[in-house]
Assembly symmetry: C2
Homo-oligomer: 243 residues x 2
C-alpha cells in the first residue's frame, strides 16, 4: 500500500493510495489515532472513487461519526486503465439494447463478471487499510448502490468482517444467489420509479436477503434520485450497528 | 369538550376528556403553554386510545418533540359502548373467514364503513383540541397503522390541516381511492411477512398515494412486529415536517 497524496479540509483528511494496481482513497478525521469503524464504499457505474455522491457521504461518515471510509476505483473506472474485456462486453451490450434487448439481464451478467474481480480486490483493501494505526481492525460496514450494489452483494456475502450494509438500486437478477448468504443487517434503498432496475426485481433482491434485520426504504423517483434524507438514515443505521 | 381527569408523570401531562360521545386523551408537556404541533393517533383494531403502542409513541412525541398528541376510541372500542351494527358485521365476517372466505376484502369493507363515522369525529376532535390554549392551531400530523391506517387514509385525504402522516399495515383494497387524494408527505410502514395484509396489497396502497414525498419502510416480521427503530424514524419524520 503506497500513499501518494494527503490533503485535508474541514477536519477531514483525504489520503490517496494505490494497492498494487488499485487506486483508492481513505478518509479519516484529521489527526485520528487508534481503531475506529470502517466503511468501504462502492461507487456506481461510470463513476469513480471520488464521485460527488461518494465524497459527500464519506465526509459525513467521517465528520459526524468519526468513522474511517475507504473507496477504490472499480476496474475500467476512474484512474484505472480501460479493461479491454469489460469494454468489449459493455459495447456489445449497448448494441444489443439498441437492437431491442432487455437491459436488466445484461447489466446483471456484467456485474456478476466484474464482481469476480472486485470481491478479492476489496478484501485486499480491507486487509491493508485495517493495518493502519489510525484505522485498525474495528467493525466494518459497506455502502453501495447501483453498480455498488451489484458488486457489493457478493462482497458482503463473502466477507465476514462486514457487519452491516447499505445497499440498493439493484435487482435480483444480478445477485439473488449471493443475497441469500447475507445475514448481517441491511438497509436497502429502492427508487419506486427506477428506469434501470424493474421494481419487482428490486423487491425480489430485498426479499432474497437472509438477514434477520433488513429494512427497505423505497422512495418515489428515478434511479439517480435518492432523497437527501436517506443519507441521514444511512448514517444512523451505521451508528446503530458499528458503534 | 369536557375534561374528566388529569395526571402527569415524567413531565408528560395526560388529560382524559369526552367530546360528545367520544372518549379521548390528550398528552402535552407538563406546564405547556402556547401553540405547538399536534399529532392525532389512530389505534389498531381491538385496541383503544391508551393501548401500549399508542401510549409509548405519544409519550415520546411529547417528551422529545414537545408536540401535543390526541387519541380517541374508535366506535366499538375502549370506553365506547358496543356498536350493534359493527358487532353484527364483525361476527358475520368471522363466520365467513371460518367458512373459507378471504380476510382482506372483508376487513377493507368494514374499515371503509367505520371511516364514514370516524372522519367527521376526528375532525371535530381537531376543532376542539386546537382551541385549547396549550395546543392551538399549529401544524397537524397523523399517525396510524392497521385499523389506524384504514381509518387514517380517508381522514388524511379529507382533512387539509394534516401536513404529514405515518401510515402502514394497510392494503389498497380498503383505501386506494382515498390514497390518491393524499398529497402530504407520508412515511408508510409495511411488514414483509404480514399475515393480515397481503404484501402486494400493502405495496399497492403505498403506490396509490399521490404524495410527492412518500417513503416506504418495509421490515421482516408479522403484522404486529414493527421494529423499535421505526419509532425513532417516525419521530424524525414528524420533526422534519411539522417544525
Amino acid at each position: 500500500m503506497r500513499f501518494t497524496s494527503e490533503t485535508s479540509s474541514d477536519g477531514v483528511s483525504e489520503q490517496l493510495f494505490t494497492l498494487g494496481e488499485i487506486p483508492g482513497v481513505l478518509w479519516t478525521r484529521q489527526g485520528a489515532t487508534g481503531t475506529r469503524p470502517l466503511i468501504l464504499m462502492g461507487h456506481g457505474g461510470g463513476q469513480h472513487k471520488k464521485a460527488p455522491g461518494i465524497l459527500a457521504r464519506a465526509r459525513r461518515f467521517v465528520a459526524e461519526c468519526d468513522f474511517a471510509v475507504v473507496a477504490v476505483d472499480v476496474p475500467g473506472h476512474g484512474d484505472r486503465p480501460k479493461d479491454e474485456e469489460y469494454h468489449r462486453i459493455a459495447t456489445e451490450n449497448q448494441a444489443r439494447v439498441e437492437a431491442g434487448a432487455e437491459l436488466a439481464p445484461l447489466i446483471a451478467a456484467f456485474q456478476a463478471l466484474v464482481a469476480r474481480q472486485t470481491v478479492p480486490e476489496w478484501q485486499a483493501v480491507l486487509d491493508a487499510v485495517q493495518q493502519l494505526e489510525h484505522v485498525g481492525a474495528g467493525p466494518v460496514g459497506y455502502w453501495g448502490v447501483s453498480l455498488g450494489c451489484g458488486l457489493g452483494v457478493p462482497f458482503v456475502a463473502a466477507e465476514p468482517r462486514v457487519r452491516a450494509a447499505v445497499l440498493g438500486l439493484g435487482g435480483a437478477l444480478a445477485s439473488a444467489d449471493a443475497a441469500t448468504r447475507i445475514t448481517v443487517p441491511v438497509e436497502f434503498l429502492l427508487q419506486w420509479d427506477d428506469e434501470r432496475v424493474p421494481r419487482d426485481q428490486g423487491l425480489a433482491l430485498f426479499d432474497a436477503l437472509a438477514s434477520a434485520e433488513k429494512t427497505l426504504h423505497a422512495n418515489p423517483g428515478r434511479h439517480g434520485e435518492i432523497p437527501a434524507f436517506e443519507l441521514d438514515s444511512s448514517l444512523r443505521f451505521f451508528v446503530r450497528h458499528l458503534t
